[in-house]
């Protein structure tokens, strides 16, 4: 693993440069082998996919998030919580390589599959669910090379992984909000990265769909993916391995039962939080979050 600024995170080698790798489903192990080009260069199973050390992030030299240090290991899920403007999306952009840290280091073994919050798919361009999933393979092949059989297999496998194999030919615009999120997740999986960085994937879906999506994400964790997920759903965050609390700086990074305490939540959400002590648990209700999620244009 090499220390590089976040903006210079290396793009993984094309997964389909060789015939052998072309047919692989988008599993983390396959992605690691693809990205390194050889099994020997692949990181060990427990080597962190992400290491952030004493990092400060901001725009135009002005810090908006300070003192961030955490790691993400394969097969682990980190929930990032905090109020609006706390720096969640800034941190995720940095992990995705779109933003260099102002100070400190961000180390990643692979370019993550990144699902930004401000994504705006167009509904007036007739694409199928499969078309969208196939777009993910653009991240690992040359721009001018058309998708090959292995890319299509990866897209099929990704759709199957999110439970939408039967809707592969359905127009994306005709899908429900939850299904759209699943297709976008399939596109991320088709990139073949072992690290998924998702900015509020539950934002534009109803409670039932959010629950299904959460189960899906946790199943991906069981398959060895590393997950970094920004969320406002504290109940969901409790099911992650680690919780990263942000509000202009890092307030906690620990297991949910240790991070989601009344004290930490009050410090994280401030006046937006309603903290209720009972049955040994603290519950916080953040103020309504205004965002557009993955709406369409």
């Amino acid at each position: 693993m090499t220390a590089v600024p976040a903006s210079r995170c290396p793009r993984p080698a094309a997964a389909n440069d060789t015939g052998a790798s072309a047919a692989r489903p988008p599993t983390p192990a396959a992605a690691r082998a693809d990205a390194s080009g050889s099994a020997a260069a692949a990181p060990s199973h427990r080597q962190p996919l992400v290491e952030v050390a004493a990092a400060t992030f901001g725009y135009a030299g002005r810090p908006v998030l300070r003192d961030v240090s955490f790691t993400v290991e394969p097969g682990s899920a980190v929930a990032v919580i905090g109020p609006n403007g706390s720096g969640k999306s800034t941190l995720l952009r940095a992990l995705a390589g779109e933003l260099a840290p102002l100070a400190g280091t961000v180390r990643t073994t692979h370019r993550p599959a990144y699902l930004p919050q401000d994504s705006r798919p167009r509904s007036d361009i007739p694409l199928s669910a499969f078309d969208v999933a196939l777009m993910g393979t653009l991240a690992r092949r040359s721009l001018w090379r058309p998708p090959r059989r292995g890319d299509r297999r990866a897209a099929h496998a990704a759709l199957a992984a999110v439970g939408l194999a039967e809707l592969r030919d359905a127009p994306f615009a005709a899908l429900s909000g939850g299904q759209k999120q699943r297709v976008l997740l399939a596109r991320a999986l088709a990139q073949g990265s072992p690290l998924l960085v998702l900015d509020e994937p539950f934002a534009a879906v109803d409670a039932a769909a959010a629950g299904e999506l959460e189960e899906l994400l946790l199943s991906l964790r069981e398959q060895g993916h590393g997950l970094v997920v920004a969320t406002h759903d504290l109940a969901s965050a409790r099911r992650f391995d680690r919780v990263l609390c942000l509000n202009g700086r890092q307030l906690a990074f620990d297991r949910p039962e240790r991070a989601l305490t009344a004290t930490t939540l009050a410090a994280t959400f401030g006046r937006e939080a309603l903290v209720i002590e009972g049955s040994g648990r603290a519950v916080a209700a953040a103020a309504p979050h205004r965002h557009s999620g993955h709406g369409e244009r």
Binding site: D118, P121, R122, A139, D169, Q191
Partner: protein, 303 residues
């Protein structure tokens, strides 16, 4: 004939006989071939202008090529080269400006700036033509082209532009589609969105400028955008959009020339009206299908 300023005058003086068959009259056949080649070249790239919501950009590129063509005509310089160069520069500038965060999120090329470019360029071109009139600048030919006065060199140029357009489409269609569908997500995939979109805009503008001597600054953008918009209106698959747009544009060009010969009308405006009619017909068809409850055609897989 390709670069000769005097060729621009030929259209007005040519006799147009009614009821002449495209198959028997060499003049009609060559004119139809010119319009079809130009349509094919512009239709393939114009599909991307439509998908990127940059149809207005195509008109602005043609407008900016107009004063360049006037000046080139007066100076005896290559009109196609001058038009393509100026239009390409405009495409590069717009592509760079489109790298702003707003545009990255999918916003169209700023309309106000584009409108200013159109108005200013046309005004400049007309003034230049007035000043340079003694040197033989023909406004009608520069606006609607001179398909009747083109030679084999012009058609060769159009064929080359069509082949380059096809090659660019085949090479970059997947990345260009990802940008059109969701530019922000395309950037998250690691695609160089600004560079890719700039390359597309430069290609569209340069193609329009290159065909200007044959098709004119009003007809060229019409053939670039209307056929693609017509195909998209009936919700054809994205995979087939550019090829179908090229075919539709080529057919509109040939049909327009045939109608012009049959009715003894100027070919350029007739070709433009045919393209408009095709678009209106497809929109009407789509509306009828929508009211009738017909579902849109299922998208074919891209690739």
């Amino acid at each position: 004939m390709l670069f000769a300023a005097t060729a621009l005058h030929a259209q007005a003086s040519l006799p147009l006989a009614a009821q002449v068959s495209l198959l028997t009259d060499p003049l009609a056949r060559d004119a139809a071939l010119t319009a079809a080649l130009g349509g094919a070249a512009l239709g393939a790239l114009g599909a991307w202008a439509v998908l990127w919501r940059a149809a207005f950009f195509a008109h602005a590129a043609a407008s900016l090529a107009f004063p360049a063509a006037v000046a080139a005509t007066a100076l005896g310089a290559p009109i196609a080269l001058a038009g393509a160069a100026v239009a390409a520069l405009y495409g590069a500038a717009v592509g760079a400006l489109a790298g702003s965060r707003r545009s990255l999120r999918g916003g169209p090329v700023p309309d106000t700036a584009t409108a200013l470019a159109v108005v200013a360029a046309f005004a400049l071109g007309v003034i230049a033509a007035g000043i340079l009139a003694p040197s033989g600048v023909g406004l009608e030919a520069l606006l609607f082209g001179s398909v009747l006065a083109t030679g084999s060199g012009d058609r060769l140029l159009l064929a080359v532009v069509a082949l380059v357009a096809l090659a660019l489409h085949l090479a970059l269609r997947h990345a260009w589609l990802a940008i059109a569908w969701d530019a922000r997500a395309a950037a998250a995939l690691g695609l160089p969105v600004v560079a890719l979109r700039s390359a597309g805009l430069v290609a569209i503008a340069a193609a329009i400028g290159a065909v200007l001597p044959s098709l004119g600054s009003l007809l060229a953008p019409a053939l670039a955008t209307l056929p693609a918009a017509a195909v998209l209106a009936v919700r054809a698959s994205v995979r087939a959009l550019a090829p179908l747009a090229a075919l539709t544009a080529a057919a509109s060009g040939a049909l327009g020339v045939a109608i012009a010969f049959a009715l003894d009308l100027p070919p350029g405006p007739v070709v433009a009206l045919v393209a408009v009619a095709v678009y209106a017909a497809t929109v009407a068809l789509a509306t009828v299908r929508s009211k009738g409850g017909a579902t849109a055609a299922a998208p074919a897989h891209w690739g």
